[in-house]
């Protein structure tokens, strides 16, 4: 019986094909470093949040200390996207009563420090403030200024770690390291659900690389058939035992806000 040897051309083709398949298939993962994968996923997650235009929302913060005593903060937010730059955000404080009417304007930038102004209604004074205060507490809560600002991909280096289940979701776990020296963190571990790339959980490590805080995000709702927004976010400080819960309500997209509503002049008339 003659054994049919493979036609040399066929054999070559098979090898080329196999090489092609190999190159285009698993090798894409193998060739892509953990850093490249991390950046790709983080960029994708950020891209999915873009294009919403503007929004307004109400935020209630419940601060809880170790003994379980609670106090609340109420803030209204307005956010607008700016093409080719970071978002602009206006925070207006309603509670506690002594800071009622205080407003805080942030012009976020991707590759340079943010611009921030504070409006003090008792003095009618607009004060430019330093954006170095990233690690400071926001209104006495467990959230720092940097925890509440939009996560711009350019402000971190990323690394893909692993895939694993997280609650009801299947998650991708990334490590991100802040580039800013003003950041209070050495690194953060981020759990993103694989389907929608929503942030499900973040673990924050302080400058001594101790696990300082954990943020858990829940009660997602989808707006404009596209944008996922959290209903509750809980931040627990493992060193102090204190925690803060954010309750987001009254999300409105596509309002008639424009960039003129995010200027120093607008800051002074904000109620």
């Amino acid at each position: 019986m003659r054994v049919a040897l493979p036609h040399p051309m066929l054999a070559v083709s098979a090898i080329v094909l196999a090489a092609l398949v190999w190159a285009g298939g698993p090798s894409a993962v193998l060739a892509e470093s953990a850093e490249e994968a991390g950046l790709r996923i983080a960029t994708d997650a950020r891209e999915r949040q873009k294009g919403y235009g503007n929004l307004t929302a109400n935020l209630k913060m419940t601060l809880r200390n170790k003994r379980g005593q609670e106090s609340t903060r109420e803030v209204r937010l307005k956010v607008i996207e700016v093409e080719g730059d970071g978002d602009r955000t206006m925070f207006v404080f309603d509670r506690p009563r002594d800071v009622k009417g205080t407003a805080f304007l942030v012009h976020a930038h991707k590759n340079e420090p943010d611009d921030q102004w504070l409006y003090l209604p008792a003095l009618k004074r607009v004060k430019r403030i330093s954006s170095s205060k990233q690690s400071g507490s926001f209104m006495g809560s467990e959230f720092s200024y940097e925890d509440l600002s939009a996560v711009e991909v350019e402000k971190y280096t990323h690394r893909y770690l692993r895939d694993e289940a997280c609650g009801d979701f299947q998650c991708t776990v990334l490590e991100r390291v802040p580039l800013s020296e003003d950041s209070g963190y050495s690194r953060q571990l981020v759990w993103l659900d694989q389907e929608e790339l929503r942030t499900i959980q973040v673990q924050y490590f302080d400058r001594r690389d101790e696990h300082l805080k954990t943020m858990v995000v829940d009660e997602f709702a989808q707006y404009l058939d596209r944008f996922w927004r959290a209903g509750t976010v809980e931040m627990t400080n493992h060193l102090t035992g204190k925690s803060t819960v954010l309750n987001w309500t009254d999300y409105e997209f596509g309002t008639d806000l424009d960039e003129g509503d995010f200027t120093k002049t607008a800051l002074k008339r904000t109620r």
Partner: protein, 429 residues
């Protein structure tokens, strides 16, 4: 004069009535109404009880050693469905020790309109309003639109309402503001029984103006503000009735009193801040023409002297100081007035050094210590402040001033024995 007094009393009663009405509105906070014009109504405000103790024997006769009383301020804000709004804020202070410190003021009563002009925006404020200009901490230098409500606080930072037309045009290039101001407000001064006053009492019945139009002179002002990366800049010009009166020694009967006299002045102002990392670098400078200095000539008249003045300084903040959540801000400012010893204020050549510790805790606890040191005299003013929120509505503010080694030639000589400690308990609603 008597008529003026009656108008004053009537205004006080009217404002007090308005205020009590506002406060008694059963917490219409944030109420939405569907009837026509008003879509949103909000009432907010503060009731404040105050006690001040002056431990040193008074320098002038009849002065009390304490002041106690209360202040009330309420704001009603009404907005229609197109964003047009009306804001009304009456204020009332009652002081048991000094009848002249008991006063009412309409802090705000204005209509606000705004809209787009292409990519830019316009805003119009019509009525009584307050406007703040400036960046430094030691003294309000550039700030000139509103009169100082001096009896409220010796730091001159509390301002009275001012009738105005205020038009703003803003875009990504900055903002240009134009002001038409009339109905000049007189500066308040402590009365005979009050502390923190000149030796002779200021008699506001003897107020006079350089302009024949008196308080109804039309003052004009313009201001440009812009932000360029880390730099915020403000340029301003004011032409009209001075907010700072010259106090002319006058005989009223047999008593020597001081008569406020308001000149016509022109002031150019610059205020700028560079914000870089933890550093804030600040500068305010003015040139004022038409005002009088503190030098009496041989006819017992003050000299007119054009002058320049500036405050330059820096603020440096250490975040998460001592490995805590607290921020520590260190402030250094140098204030200079070109008139030197004939300056009409205490900032002829002074340095302010201050430290402010913000704990960033749930109660927003804040401590401030400062010293204002005269470089020309031996005078020194120490200030210590403590602020803390007690609950959602209540907050505490303790403040103490100490006047140390005040030189006889210093403009502050009259208040040399007026060191005090004050405790304010505020209810915010």
């Amino acid at each position: 004069m008597k008529l003026l007094g009656q108008i004053g009393a009537a205004r006080l009663t009217l404002l007090a009535a308005l205020l009590s009405l506002l406060i008694s509105v059963p917490m219409a906070t944030g109420a939405r109404a569907d009837d026509g014009f008003v879509e949103f109504v909000e009432v907010t405000g503060r009731l404040s009880s105050e006690t001040r103790v002056y431990p040193e024997t008074a320098a002038h006769p009849d002065q009390r050693s304490h002041a106690s009383g209360f202040a009330a301020e309420a704001t009603v804000y009404m907005e229609d469905n197109e964003g047009r709004s009306i804001t009304i804020t009456p204020f009332l202070r009652y002081d048991a020790g000094d009848p002249d410190r008991t006063h009412a003021d309409l802090r705000e009563a204005f209509l606000l309109l705004y809209g787009d002009i292409g990519d830019d925006e316009w805003e119009l404020r019509l009525g009584v309003d307050r406007v703040f200009w400036g960046v430094v901490e030691s003294r309000p230098l550039v700030d000139i639109v509103n009169q100082t409500d001096l009896v409220e606080d010796p730091d001159e930072k509390t301002k009275m309402g001012q009738p105005m037309v205020h038009l703003t045009w803003s875009g990504d290039w900055g903002a240009l503001e134009l002001f038409g101001l009339t109905g000049h407000r007189e500066r308040t001064f402590p009365g005979r029984h009050g502390r923190l006053r000149p030796g002779p009492v200021v008699d506001r019945d003897l107020t006079s103006y350089e302009s024949s139009a008196g308080e109804w002179h039309l003052d004009l002002a313009a201001r440009y503000t812009g932000s360029f990366g880390p730099v915020d800049i403000g340029l301003s010009v004011f032409d009209g009735t001075s907010r700072e009166p010259t106090l002319l020694p006058t005989l009223a009967g047999t008593e020597l009193v001081l008569a406020p006299y308001y000149e016509q002045i022109t002031q150019l102002g610059l205020d700028t801040q560079l914000t870089t990392g933890p550093w804030l670098l600040k500068l305010e400078a003015i040139h004022r023409a038409g005002a009088q200095n503190r030098r009496l000539d041989r006819f017992l008249q003050y000299e007119e002297e054009d002058y320049a003045a500036f405050v330059a300084g820096a603020e440096y903040t250490i975040y998460a100081v001592w490995d805590s959540d607290a921020d520590l801000s260190l402030i250094g400012e140098w204030a200079r007035d070109g008139r030197g010893r004939w300056a009409t204020n205490a900032f002829e050549n002074d340095v302010l050094l201050a430290a402010r510790l913000g704990l960033n805790d749930e109660q927003s606890t804040e401590f401030t210590l400062s010293v204002l040191e005269s470089l020309d005299y031996s005078s020194r003013v120490l200030n210590a402040e403590f602020k803390r929120r007690l609950s959602d509505s209540w907050s505490l503010h303790v403040q103490s001033y100490a006047y140390v080694g005040i030189d006889e030639d210093d403009a502050m000589y009259d208040v040399r024995r007026d060191s005090f400690i004050g405790v304010n308990l505020d209810y915010n609603f």
